[in-house]
Amino acid sequence: MSLLSVQDLHVFYGNIHAIKGISFDVSEGEIVTLIGANGAGKSTTLNTVCGLLHARSGSINFNGEDITRLKASSMTARGMVLCPEGRRIFQQMTVRENLEMGGFTRPKGEIAASLERVYKQFPRLKEREKQVAGTLSGGEQQMLAMGRALMSRPKLIMLDEPSMGLAPILVEQIFEIIHSLHENGSTILLVEQNAQMALSVADRAYVLETGRITMTGPAEDLLHDDAVRKAYLGE
C-alpha cells in the first residue's frame, strides 16, 4: 500500500485552474520526483498535499488517512513535512532555534537526539549552531531547511526545488544528501526544475505540464526518453 496517494486532484487560484485532475502515489522508501517547466504546477501540488492550499475536488490519502481537508499545521504531527521553495528558514533566529522549531510537534525528551542526528548529517550546521540563520550562505540555508524538516522525524519528506539558486557544486552536494537520506530509509517526494539531477536520484518520476501529468515511469526510463530529453534536459 502506498504511503501517499493523490486521486484526481483539482486546484484553483481564483478562476485559474492550476491543477487539472492529477493522480499519483508514493510508496514507503521511494524517491518520487515531479518534474516539469516553470508554472507546470509542481509547487502548487506540494502546497496542496501539505494543506497550505486546498483542493476544489479530489482526494489526498496519507498513511491510511484522508487528509484532503486538513490544515497545514496538523500535517507535521502526522509524519509529513514540506521543505518549502525558497527555503523559508527563520532568518532572525539562530540555526539551533530553527532546528528546534522543526521539532515543534515532537516530545521534549526527543529533541536532543534529533539534533544529534541532524548535526551528524550536516556537520556544518553544528559549527554554526549559534549563528543567526540569515547570515548563512545559500547552500547552508538549504541544509538548514532540510535539517529543520528532518527534526520532525517525518515518514514523508517533500522537497520543493532544493537546488534552486545554488552553485553547481552545491547542487551536487544537496543531491548527495538526498541520496543518503534515501539510503537511510526516508521516503521523499521531490519537485525539481533540474530534471537531470532529479531523475538520476529518483526511483520513479511524473512529468507535469500545465497542470496535467503527461508521462510517468521509472526515473531511469524517463532519463533516456527522447521526448523528455528534448523538453527538459536541453537536448
Partner: protein
C-alpha cells in the same frame, strides 16, 4: 537642579507606564502584523474593573489588579477571535479600519455601561521618599517608583519568554514567516490569540497603574491618549522590538514631562509627536527596529 531631577524621575516613571502599553502594541504588531488601535480602550476597561473592585466592592488592590488583567485577557481574546481572525487574509487597511471600529465600539459600550461622567479615584498612596539636594527638597512617590520596577520586570520576563521558551520561540517563528511556522506544526491562530492574551494582560496592569498610581480620571475615553502616546513610543523604539518598546516608552515619558515642566504644558503633547515625526524622517525603523532584508 532638584526640579530637573524630580521631572526626570517623574518622566521615567510615566515612561515606564507607556512602555508597558507599548509592549502590548509592539508584540501584537510583531506577531499578528496589525496595529491594534483598540489596545488603549482595553486599558480603559481595565481601569474600570480596578475602580469597581477597589472602590465599589472595597476589595484590596492585590485582588483588583489580577481581576483587571483577567477581564482584559478575556476581552482581548474575544476581540481577536470575533473581529480580527475573520480578516486574517484581508488587506492590512481593512484590519486597521476594523481596529479603529473596535476602539469606538469599546468606548461607546463603556459609556453605555458606566456612563459618560468621569469617575474620580482615590489614588493609592504608598507614601513618599523625601530627597534633599543641597537646600532643595522634593518627594519621590513610592507608587511611581514601583511602576518603574514593574515595567522592568515585565520587559525582562517577556524577553526571557520569547528568547528561551518553546512557546515564545514559536511566536517569533510566526512573526517571521507565518506559512513556514505552520509547516513546522505551529498553530498560527492559537499563537496569535496567545499574543493578544499577553498584550491584554499588560493592558490590565497599565489600566490599574493609570487610575491607581497616576490618578488619571476615569472616563470611556481615558485609554485613547495613553494609547496613542504608547503607540508613538513603540514606533519610536522600533515596533516589534521588546527592548525598543521599553526605551521608546521611557524616552517619550521623559520628553513629555521635561517639556511640560520647563517649556510649556500646552506644548508637551505637540512636542512629543514632533519627536516622533523627526524619528520617522531620520530613522523610519525606529531606534532598535530591524530593517527588512531578504535573501534568496
Amino acid at each position: 537642579m532638584a526640579q530637573f531631577l524630580e521631572a526626570l524621575i517623574n518622566g521615567i516613571s510615566l515612561g515606564s507606564l507607556y512602555a508597558i502599553i507599548a509592549l502590548g502594541y509592539s508584540m501584537v504588531y510583531g506577531i499578528a502584523k496589525m496595529l491594534n488601535f483598540a489596545h488603549g480602550d482595553v486599558i480603559m476597561v481595565g481601569g474600570y474593573i480596578v475602580f469597581i473592585v477597589l472602590n465599589n466592592m472595597g476589595m484590596p488592590a492585590a485582588l483588583a489588579i489580577p481581576a483587571a488583567m483577567l477581564v482584559c485577557v478575556a476581552l482581548g481574546i474575544t476581540i481577536e477571535g470575533l473581529a480580527y481572525r475573520p480578516l486574517r487574509q484581508a488587506t492590512s487597511l481593512a484590519v486597521l479600519i476594523t481596529a479603529i471600529g473596535v476602539s469606538y465600539f469599546l468606548q461607546n459600550a463603556a459609556q453605555l455601561i458606566w456612563g459618560a461622567n468621569p469617575r474620580f479615584f482615590t489614588i493609592m498612596n504608598y507614601g513618599n521618599i523625601p530627597v534633599s539636594l543641597g537646600k532643595d527638597q522634593f518627594n519621590i512617590s513610592v507608587g511611581k517608583l514601583c511602576s518603574v520596577g514593574v515595567s522592568v520586570v515585565i520587559m525582562l520576563g517577556l524577553s526571557f519568554f520569547t528568547g528561551k521558551t518553546k512557546m515564545g520561540k514559536s511566536m517569533r517563528a510566526v512573526s517571521e514567516d507565518r506559512g513556514a511556522a505552520e509547516l513546522m506544526g505551529i498553530n498560527v491562530n492559537r499563537t496569535i490569540a496567545l499574543t493578544f492574551a499577553i498584550g491584554s494582560a499588560l493592558a490590565g496592569v497599565a489600566g490599574a497603574m493609570l487610575v491607581g498610581v497616576y490618578g488619571v480620571q476615569l472616563s470611556p475615553t481615558t485609554g485613547a491618549m495613553p494609547g496613542i502616546k504608547a503607540f508613538t513610543a513603540a514606533v519610536f523604539g522600533g515596533i516589534g522590538s521588546i527592548p525598543g518598546a521599553m526605551i521608546g516608552g521611557i524616552l517619550i515619558g521623559v520628553i513629555e514631562i521635561l517639556v511640560g515642566t520647563f517649556i510649556s504644558t500646552d506644548l508637551k503633547d505637540a512636542l512629543t509627536f514632533a519627536v516622533l515625526i523627526i524619528m520617522l524622517v531620520v530613522k523610519p525603523t525606529g531606534l532598535l527596529g530591524k530593517p527588512i532584508r531578504e535573501k534568496v
